[in-house]
């Protein structure tokens, strides 16, 4: 795989969560909405078909949770007020290749949860983060933060 291929509904993606974003309640690490923070409102994930959970960690203390692509794509029920069409939530391949302008490390498994059209207000993104954290929480951790 080159990383450019569209993700199938059956694929799984990993989300890296820094340890400091993970509160402990009743002895368990919880996945809160902060786990899906993204300044550009496009949370990054890695394709499980192209990378192991351990490889998805940046630090050994990071937690790794997982999302099913079909379930993320099912978050499509919000209607855009301008066009009266539903927002389409998708997981799109965004491989980071050698020689990229930002000089980021190569990551062909890199993908993003994106919304079309882009959310016009911040509260929509807050809702998306809440939904993603709930869906990830249902599956639990692939690697618990330490």
């Amino acid at each position: 795989m080159t990383g450019d291929e569209l993700l199938s509904d059956e694929e799984w993606v990993f989300r890296r969560v820094p340890r400091e974003s993970v509160p402990i309640r009743e002895g368990r690490y919880q996945i809160h909405s902060e786990a899906f923070n993204d300044r550009w409102k496009k949370p990054s994930v890695d394709r499980a078909a192209m990378k192991s959970a351990v490889e998805a960690q940046m630090a050994p203390t990071d937690g790794i949770c997982t999302l099913h692509v079909a379930v993320v794509r099912s978050i499509t029920t919000v209607v855009h007020q301008g066009t009266n069409k539903p927002y389409q939530v998708d997981v799109l391949p965004r491989p980071i290749k050698a020689g990229n302008p930002e000089n980021e490390p190569v990551n062909l498994a890199h993908s993003q949860v994106e919304v079309d059209p882009e959310f016009e207000n911040a509260s929509r993104f807050k809702k998306l983060k809440d939904a993603l954290s709930r869906l990830a929480g249902e599956r639990g951790w692939v690697i618990e933060p330490t």
Partner: protein, 168 residues
Amino acid sequence: MNYQSGGTEALLDTASRAMHSGVEGSASAELEDRWFAGAASRLRDISRNRITSAILKMRQRGDDWDGYGSLAHDLQSIFQAIDAVESFIDKVSANGLNWFDPNVGLDENGHVVLEWWNGDRRFTVYFVPDLPEFLCSWGPNIESQMHAGKLTSEEFLKKWRWLSTCDA
């Protein structure tokens, strides 16, 4: 009710039952008035200090603290959140409701976020400029199971009642 952390009022209920088992009638009421008012106040102080300390800890987060490009903490938002916690605890107490602590975090813009969970119900407050914003959710469907808006003083109590009456 099944709160994610032990509520101070629940602790007081337990203590009250223990006290009533040995003291009866008007003596019990007097003892309760004198002892519990002070105890409840101290427990509120402990809670307030714990949350304030967690909010102040957010000052350690600089730019890109999470590796996803999030901005550093916003100092104005930190002060706003500390003031609000004081007011939230007082409101909850004055209305005879149970208080329990939120998770404290930051959003990608460096604004303080307080997030309470009770079973499927979540109540999240974002300390953005001007009025804080809230998000109430009870499932992952962002159209039919979530509600968001500006958080006024009256709105806080309504949302708290909604959160704390969940039979989780």
